[in-house]
């Protein structure tokens, strides 16, 4: 219903960023914990893989994802068989792509927080009767609160600003894959500068508010 207004693409972007952030928290938390504590020889390889999206141009990631997620790709074909729908040019496909694209922005702050955690606190929790999982949620996670906050804000912001990957994997379908960055690009292409201005200003304001709240909360956390 918002497709004609500037709100539609913005809301879609927010929905994508929120979903991606939630999925990433579930994936990145155990991964970051493992990276923070493992002595495995696989660690450098895994770390490099996780960090790849920081270095690679979004178009490269988008290109490979298009091939893998497309109806003839390994994952894409399986998805079509199971659900009957194609992954590419769909919201689900965008979520998968965004998770890969934003993974390092969730993993790295968490890994840093987990590494700086005093393991003696976790030991104390264990001797007080907490199972390993219990000790994680009751001691390790609260003591890593700033790491979680950074991970949430960075993955959210990074997904919000996504352009190249969306263009390659999602295209430009209103209400499904037409996120705000694509919409702005569209308006500029069609020389509709007024609409581009409106959306850009909206995104600018939104991004500023999100970052500002992060820094305010971070300051409170570190004061404690």
């Amino acid at each position: 219903m918002f497709e004609t207004t500037s709100m539609g693409p913005l809301l879609l972007s927010i929905r994508l960023a929120t979903t991606t952030t939630l999925v990433l928290l579930i994936i990145a938390t155990p991964l970051a914990w493992w990276l923070a504590h493992t002595t495995s020889r696989w660690k450098p390889g895994i770390q490099a893989t996780v960090a790849l999206p920081i270095v690679l141009p979004p178009t490269v990631i988008g290109f490979y994802l298009l091939i893998v997620l497309g109806p003839y790709g390994t994952i894409g074909r399986w998805w079509v068989e199971v659900t009957g729908d194609a992954l590419t040019f769909s919201f689900t496909g965008l979520v998968i792509a965004s998770c890969i694209y934003s993974l390092p922005f969730a993993v790295q702050p968490l890994q840093v927080a987990f590494q700086s955690l005093d393991r003696r606190d976790v030991e104390a929790a264990r001797t007080l009767g907490a199972s390993p999982l219990d000790a994680f949620f009751s001691v390790a996670a609260p003591l890593s609160a700033h790491g979680f906050l950074n991970a949430i804000v960075l993955s959210f912001a990074h997904t919000l600003g996504e352009f190249g990957v969306v263009l390659m994997v999602g295209g430009n379908i209103p209400g499904e894959t037409r996120v705000i960055s694509i919409a702005i690009y569209d308006h500029v292409e069609s020389l509709d500068y007024a609409a581009a201005h409106q959306m850009s200003a909206l995104l600018l304001a939104f991004a500023f508010v999100v970052l500002l709240s992060m820094f305010v909360i971070n300051r409170r956390l570190s004061r404690r």
Binding site: R120, D121, L128, A130, D134, R224
Partner: protein, 374 residues
């Protein structure tokens, strides 16, 4: 307490056998600790005291070992059994308080209590809080506590998880002298009022003598002596015990109080001693006498300011430092240690069996708590 058990364990004991190999260190112990009172574990740093505690808690996995508590097998590497840390009913007080900085003192105390399964011993929250003097700090955050306060909270936290026994790993080592004395007092009250057994690790023989009922001495990963405090302290042949704080402990009964001079007369098998302060007649005191505070005379000294002079028999003379020797004395059924210069020992020609007079310059006394379990 006895070594070389088969680690079958009986009721009311902690029986263990551990072998733990590290690159530069090996722990190899086989012992049974009675489930009562405070058992001191003494040794130089690197003797394996902390490793032993960590094995008992399950924080360290031994190469091979067996742990039987009250007849229940907690660990047996032969049958690949090992209770995970959180299922072992222990309290652990570390050298640092390790309070959770994101929780108030009250919620720190609740942490273990909420997770404690229903156990036979019921610990009363109010009682523990009062015992450790924490009433006024319950709502504070750990950052706002002094080192001594934080350590008291951590002791209370360990007690509140209703442990079968408590492990204490040098809980006073990080504190200054005044705070140490303060916590020792609290530990003393705890010993007197609660029945929970404690295994207390320290490299300070003064602390051990003040607190413990039993003592085991470790050296390079092995237990080299164990038994009740008095008898182990008397082992002048143990270099580990011969430091600055070497001394002995006797148990004495209060005979009378002299109000005019503020002195209490106590009686033990070796005679009578005067100690300062008022103590309840009939009560039992633990009297600690440092080897450095005992000097010897061939004849009964007269015209001396020293009040406590007791006849004694020389049992043995052991070499100590370059200029000193340690003399083991028997008085009645008790023993004392004296540190004197080697020169005096030669000049007096001290031999085993000689009758001498021991002059005791100062004594430290501690009231003996209610026997746990009574």
């Amino acid at each position: 307490m006895s070594t070389n058990t088969t680690t079958t364990g009986t009721r009311a004991s902690i029986a263990m056998r551990y072998v733990l190999s590290r690159a530069d260190f090996e722990l190899d112990v086989d012992l049974e600790i009675p489930m009562r009172g405070i058992t001191g574990v003494f040794g130089e740093s690197g003797a394996g005291k902390t490793s032993l505690l960590r094995c008992i808690a399950g924080l360290e996995q031994p190469s091979s070992g067996r742990l039987v508590v009250d007849g229940n097998v907690w660990q047996d590497t032969a049958s690949r059994r090992s209770l995970p840390v959180h299922q072992r009913a222990i309290g652990y007080v570390f050298q640092e308080p390790r309070l959770f900085s994101h929780l108030t003192v009250h919620r720190n105390l609740d942490y273990g209590r909420r997770r404690a399964p229903e156990r036979a011993v019921n610990v009363d929250f109010e009682q523990i809080v009062a015992l450790l003097g924490l009433e006024s700090m319950l709502q504070r955050m750990p950052d706002a506590l002094s080192g001594g306060e934080a350590q008291r909270v951590s002791i209370a936290r360990a007690l509140l998880c209703e442990p079968r026994f408590v492990l204490m790993d040098e809980p006073l080592a990080a504190l200054d002298k005044a705070r140490k004395a303060e916590i020792l007092q609290f530990l003393d009250r705890l010993h007197a009022e609660l029945s929970v057994p404690i295994i207390y690790v320290s490299h300070n023989i003064g602390e051990i003598s003040a607190l413990c009922d039993q003592l085991l001495v470790m050296q390079r990963g092995r237990v080299i002596a164990d038994g009740d405090l008095q008898s182990v302290l008397m082992r002048t042949d143990l270099p580990a015990l011969a430091g600055e704080e070497a001394g002995s402990v006797v148990v004495a009964k209060v005979a009378s109080y002299d109000a005019e001079y503020g002195l209490t007369c106590v009686r033990f098998s070796g005679g009578e001693l005067f100690v300062s302060g008022r103590h309840e007649p009939g009560s039992e005191l633990r009297v600690r006498i440092r080897a450095n505070d005992v000097s010897l005379c061939r004849v009964r000294p007269t015209g001396t300011t020293i009040l406590n002079i007791l006849p004694a028999v020389v049992e043995a003379v052991h070499p100590d430092a370059e200029a000193t020797v340690l003399v083991r004395l028997s008085l009645g059924s008790d023993f004392l240690t004296a540190r004197i210069t080697r020169r005096s020992s030669v000049e007096l020609n001290l031999q085993a069996g000689d009758e001498v007079f021991a002059q005791i310059k100062s004594v430290a006394v501690r009231k003996i708590g209610v026997e746990p379990g009574k």
